[in-house]
């Protein structure tokens, strides 16, 4: 049969009148999509190579380039979509698993968009955040159920020792992204932004690059199934430790960093030889059950002298509530739940697009379950997986989360255009790549400023909404599902979310 060339997803249109033949687009494209024909003195594009990252469009000095979706890549069909057909063709040719990156892009329901917030009218004055204090400081860690106080004439002394806590000036942290999956400049940008704003970034499972050590006070170190770079110094280098069991983009599977990417500096931080594959097994091979997890939690607590909160990250799956309960009972100080929209550097497409549950439902059931069991105070809940904007943060906290992690949103702030090709390591924006030429494109100072700006902007918006509700401290929003109403949701979904339909009063 005739070998069918796969259709281009994108069409790059170049206005020949505007093009000055500077060839910048030719030089910058790491995928080699643009080329120059000297004889014709024309710049052309091989559309099939274009990943739609918009880098050339962004740097073109004369705005001659427009990258567009190919309007009719494949004959239109509601069932056999162009994506489905293209995927089949690729698999027919290669016989392999399809890889992709970033989060699930399928049109699953986003519950955040079906929940609306409340505001004060008449019976309760709204509070103007420009005039009145508006507090969003958050503490992450194990809390006692009650405090023992010693009170005498006018003075109060604390008798209860409180477990170590993370102090967040905004209830938003940067989620785990390893050095390896993202560039050092991207890591530095997030680390510096976390330090500026007073929150935390997460090393991911790639070990700790020496340049990031100075950000220890604003760092959470991760211990995942590959245990890359994990030793006692690493565990003590940050403010908290996170054991990663699962990830929203790929629940139930491990990870694989190909040997070609294990360069000298990566080899140093991951503590593996140059050129060897870095394989993170699907399970931790020392955790086959909940009691094993307890042992690891306490081994890490011993190694860190009980001075750092130890958390556990899991993907939101059907049974998430009882699993989270088990994790809390196993001794975790915080539980991270990553929803079906969670991103990644590389994952099989079939897993990313089909496994897991939406984070909104997971927050609701986990918070309820922990409360029902009377153990909600024993651990903080951090949620991740597709948090796109400040209103998502507010809704997540109202459902019962203590804080959120953002990954994709943070990378977008650094320039990411969601082309979903991180696994190729050719990121034109200098984020998901180790190629020094490309990494250089991301200035960590500018990146830090942009990421910090994003948090600042969201913090302002959160305060605005809180003030509108007549609330001046975020703890009064936490688990306050009364401020949420569902629009267009079915009764059972409302029940799971623990909210009322819009139109119903208190």
């Amino acid at each position: 049969m005739a070998k069918r060339r796969s259709t281009a997803d994108f069409v790059l249109e170049r206005d020949d009148y505007k093009c000055i033949r500077c060839l910048a687009c030719v030089r910058v494209c790491s995928y080699g999509a643009n080329f120059y024909d000297e004889r014709e003195n024309m710049v052309f594009t091989e559309n099939r190579k274009c990943v739609g990252c918009h880098f050339c469009e962004a740097i073109c000095p004369t705005e001659a380039i427009v990258v567009q979706h190919n309007p009719l890549a494949i004959r239109w069909n509601a069932h056999w979509t162009s994506e489905v057909v293209t995927d089949i063709m690729k698999q027919a040719e290669t016989g392999g698993v399809l890889l992709t990156s970033m989060g699930n892009d399928k049109p699953y329901f986003t519950y955040f968009d079906r929940m609306v917030l409340n505001a004060s009218q008449v019976t309760n004055p709204s509070i103007d955040p420009l005039r009145e204090p508006m507090e969003i400081r958050t503490f992450i860690g194990k809390k006692p159920l009650s405090l023992e106080l010693e009170e005498s004439e006018g003075s109060v002394a604390l008798k209860t020792q409180i477990a170590p806590q993370l102090k967040l000036e905004v209830p938003i942290m940067f989620s785990a992204m390893s050095y390896g999956s993202i560039s050092l400049n991207a890591s530095k940008s997030l680390a510096k932004a976390a330090q500026t704003v007073g929150t935390y970034f997460n090393t991911g499972e790639g070990g700790l690059h020496k340049d990031l050590k100075e950000f220890g006070e604003n760092m959470i170190v991760q211990c995942a199934s590959g245990r890359f770079g994990v030793n006692v110094d690493y565990l003590n280098a940050g403010a908290a430790v996170e054991i990663k069991i699962g990830q929203g983009a790929k629940p139930g599977i491990g990870g694989h960093l190909p040997g070609e990417k294990v360069t000298e500096p990566i080899s140093e931080t991951r503590m593996i030889p140059v050129g060897t594959d870095a394989i993170s097994p699907a399970p931790h091979h020392d955790i086959y059950s909940i009691e094993d997890l307890r042992q690891l939690i306490y081994a890490i607590k011993e190694a860190t002298r009980y001075k750092k909160p130890v958390g556990v990250k899991i993907a939101a799956v059907h049974n998430v509530a009882p699993i989270a309960s088990g994790i809390v009972r196993a001794g975790a100080d915080f539980v991270v739940i990553d929803g079906i929209r969670g991103g990644t550097g590389a994952t099989p497409k079939v897993t990313r697009d089909n496994v897991g549950i939406p984070i909104e439902l997971a927050i609701a059931v986990v918070d309820k379950r922990l409360r029902d069991e009377g153990i909600r105070h024993l651990a903080s809940i951090i949620v991740a997986g597709g948090i796109r904007k400040s209103s998502d943060v507010i809704k997540a906290i109202a459902l019962g989360a203590d804080a959120v992690y953002i990954g994709t949103a943070a990378l977008v702030a650094l320039g990411c255009h969601l082309c979903q090709k991180c696994y190729m390591g050719k990121c034109n924006w200098g984020i998901a790549t180790q190629d020094p030429k490309l990494v250089r494109r991301l200035n960590p100072e500018i990146g830090a400023r942009r990421a910090a700006n994003l948090l600042r902007a969201w913090a302002l918006e959160i305060k605005e909404i809180l003030g509108g509700m007549g609330i001046n401290a975020i703890e009064s929003l936490r688990g306050n599902r009364d401020v949420l109403r569902g629009v267009g949701l079915q009764e059972h979904e409302l029940e799971i979310l623990g909210i009322k339909p819009a139109g119903e009063a208190w």
Partner: protein
Amino acid sequence: MYFNFTESPVPDRDFRVPSGCGVVGIMHQRRRLFSGETIIKSIALMRERGNGLGGGFAAYGIYPELKEYYAFHMLYDGTLEKKEAEDFLRERFEIVEDEAIPTRRVKEVKERHLLWRYFLLPKEEALIPFESEEDLVVDTVMHINAHIKGAFVMSSGKNMGIFKGVGYPEDIGNFYRLDEYKGYIWLAHNRFPTNSVGWWGGAHPFGLLDWAVVHNGEISSYGTNRRFLESFGYRCTLYTDTEVVAYLVDLFVRRFGYSPRTTAKIFSAPLWQEIERMPSEEKQVYTALRTVYGGALLNGPFAIIVANSEMMMGLNDRVKLRPLVAASMGDFLYIASEESAIRTVCPQPERVWSPKAGEPVIGELVREPEVQKIY
């Protein structure tokens, strides 16, 4: 004589109703008993703060002869409900005395309920599953309010009682013949619910054990507070903001043994910027209180007066979004929404002040041996 209450258009038993209000608290700190006329006069002056859909009073020291027993003031829709509640009460308590709460006919008050009071002594065997007598009473109140439809416990403390209903407070006071009672602490409330009809049980004060709370405002943190309380076994069944305040004081003061001042600092927590400036030990305490009891922070505008047999406390929210004035004259402490309400019963107080946001006004009993002889 008793109407079927379900005919009412919107019974607020099933909804949380935000309301504006007027509040007054008067206390004699040496337990001198004074008649209910004083507080009726005071609350009546603030008639405009209510809309006739709720008024009520709490009085302490009114049952000196029966002060050993838990006085339950009950509100029934009818005799069937009364029987059901009494059967339940008899399982747990010995009913030492019971009678209809005396009332007089007042044309402004449309009486629809059967009002009854009981003096109860806990049975030994009923105490077994509970840590204390008080826990048995709390559980009994929660059970009746949540599960016996048409029966409602207005108050459940010793030597005190709550009298409330739908109407202007002066008419409610007259209806309950409060001029005939003498107490050393009185609270009063004039309600302005923002819906069409009031339910008698929805009026303030709200009480549990010998706690009584009157409240002007809206607690925007209700959802968070309710969930916080649920983890300590309290069931919020009445959909009033005030309910959470009563349970929270019960939790912190009775169960945890915190002082009213510390409790006030949990409800209206100092701002982080204030905590930053505190000396290190104090900073540690307040940081811990906010970190652990964030779910008990009361947010939104409020002025509340809380009392029990030992003390009376007035408290505003953290930014003082509702009025609250205090005054003292000799052993009398006055707290009210408006200064005029105080001056109408005490024209020249020695001291009048407006408590700052989040700063409690606390009146405690002065303990003197001869004062005990009053009984």
